[in-house]
């Protein structure tokens, strides 16, 4: 809160009303609905329902498959976050190094940001096509018989590659701006102290980038958990089968595809709690950083 604020009694309320009313109608009401229906098993058309207490939750807890999906989500999130951050960081450091063309590279590397996730997934399907995908051939060259949609590991690899590809631009832009905002004096001082470029990077530059990296970490975790939905959905080609999937996709699968409202709502609530934890973490992190700057 600003100390030097205004004290108009009705204006702030007026300002908040549009946002709050949208949130109540399209967020709190649906969330309450999800919490309520997580305690029922109901006919999707709304004719019958049975109160089942916590049964939907115990079913989740006991489901071996749900646990598998949860673990996949963890691996997927960790790998996508790590790869998209590190590749973007490498490119950003290089783009910061070069004298000429930094802006051209930035322009070239930004394109993919604007691609819709289903379109990215569609390109993924074509690149990993079993009989004539260019990347399938490429892997085949190294003796890897890549089979999208057949082999669990191969399918997961393809999903990760597409998800990383789609996320590199945002990370790149953030890292590059972060690097370019490091004062020249700091860089020069570092040059005097340290001859090795690599050591200089880890000792001086990286700590200065850490705030950006932390912020990006959270952004990327949310991306991998939720925003990859369109990619995964398209790459499944409409049939989940034995393919890997994330938790949010499972919610969609059971609720939207399978019409199991109770089970899917319980999964939503689990996700809500998970994201709440993540959000509090993020909130505290950002707040702390604001004190520093």
């Amino acid at each position: 809160m600003k100390r030097a604020g205004f004290t108009n009694p009705w204006l702030p309320i007026l300002l908040l009303v549009p946002q709050l009313s949208i949130i109540v109608v399209f967020f709190y009401w649906p969330a309450a609905w999800a919490i309520q229906s997580s305690f029922y098993l109901q006919d999707p058309f709304g004719f019958g329902s049975t109160f089942v207490g916590a049964e939907n939750y115990t079913d989740i807890a006991q489901s071996v498959e749900y646990r598998k999906v949860a673990w996949f989500t963890v691996y997927f999130t960790a790998i996508v976050t790590f790869l998209s951050l590190s590749i973007a960081l490498l490119l950003a450091v290089k783009a910061d190094n070069v004298l000429r063309g930094a802006k051209t590279y930035r322009t070239l590397l930004m394109w993919v940001y604007a691609i819709a996730p289903p379109v990215a997934g569609f390109l993924g399907i074509m690149f990993f096509d079993q009989s004539h995908g260019p990347l399938t051939r490429f892997f085949g060259f190294f003796g890897w018989d890549f089979k999208l949609g057949v082999d669990y590991f191969d399918t997961a690899t393809a999903m990760i590659i597409v998800a990383v590809w789609k996320q590199i631009p945002v990370n790149f832009i953030f890292f590059l701006s972060g690097l370019q905002s490091i004062p020249r004096s700091v860089r020069e001082a570092a040059l005097i102290d340290n001859n090795s470029g690599v050591r200089r990077f880890w000792d001086v530059t990286f700590p200065l980038l850490a705030p950006t990296a932390f912020f990006l970490l959270i952004i990327n975790i949310t991306y991998a958990m939720f925003d990859t939905f369109g990619i995964i959905d398209t790459m499944m080609k409409g049939e989940p089968g034995a393919n890997p999937m994330t938790l949010v996709y499972k919610v969609y699968l059971d609720g939207f595809r399978g019409n199991d409202l109770g089970g899917s709502s319980a999964q939503s609530v689990v996700l809500m709690v998970l994201v709440l934890v993540l959000t509090i973490f993020q909130f505290r992190l950002i707040e702390r950083r604001i004190h520093y700057t």
């Binding site: 600003k2 100390r3 030097a4 604020g5 205004f6 702030p12 300002l15 908040l16 946002q19 709050l20 949208i22 949130i23 399209f26 649906p30 969330a31 999800a34 590749i87 490498l90 490119l91 290089k94 070069v98 004298l99 063309g101 590279y105 322009t107 070239l108 590397l109 930004m110 394109w111 993919v112 604007a114 819709a116 996730p117 379109v119 569609f122 390109l123 074509m126 690149f127 096509d129 004539h132 260019p134 945002v170 953030f174 701006s177 005097i192 470029g197 950006t212 369109g230 080609k237 409409g238 919610v251 969609y252 609720g255 939207f256 939503s268 996700l271 809500m272 994201v275 709440l276 950002i286």
Partner: protein
Amino acid sequence: MADLTQTQIAQPTPTRLRFKWSAVFDHLVLIAGSLLMLMPLVYAFVTASYDPVTIHREGLALTFGDQLGTNFEKALLEKGGFTKTVDGMVMLKNSFILGIGFAVGKIIISMMAAYAIVYFRLRFATFAFWIIFTTLLLPLEVRILPSYEAIQRLGMANTYSGLIVPLIASATGTFFFRQFFRAVPEELVEAARIDGAGPVKFFIDILVPLSRTMIAAIFIIMFVFGWNQYLWPTLITTDESLFTLVRGIKQIVLTYSDAAIPEHGQALALAIVAMLPPVLIVIFFQSWFVKGLTESDK
């Protein structure tokens, strides 16, 4: 590292040589990275020049076929659907309405809310903030059915506002603006108050102009986000004249599992059309975009 430093002056020759090599290496990495990012798009564009049978049999290609014009023409101008009124141009228009409507709506609403939270002594400011903050908890995919019911009850199905408003519920914009406003020097408000400017005048005359880059950046982010929506537009529009590009693409891709030959040439052409407006906006306004993006996390 352009500037010559003392280290370099002390040992001029070997350093300069090493620097040159490392510069070549830097460029190589960047070129490889750019290729990695762009090759899929090149493939997509080139493959859009083939007829569906060839694409079905041979997959992606790197040499042009002769159907490029045909596919783009079909994708953009062929009237489809039952009413024979939907073509690529209509979908393009709808995507623009969704993208711009969502971005503008979100900016106005979230700026107002952020202004109220940051600049007013309000007893429930923290509470209001948390109410808004928790909306990050539930992505639309997860709350889609109840949201749909809400839209229906409000009579907003098959309208542009029904398409746009529920997407605004998430509070990302409010956060970006809140962080930005908090970084605005407090002296400004004091100066404004001394000049006798009220809250409305301060907001419109000082804060909004000051937030220009921020607004531009959020506009771009939100435009791309709105433009790329798929699931929500599919669920709530039954009126063909409201279909968007991404939905149109998915509709063609959907026949993937069917035995009929999917019109992948047309889908790729449509994908490129769908990609261009957001890409062009991002590229032309990249300095604003970059500035806004990086400022938002401060």
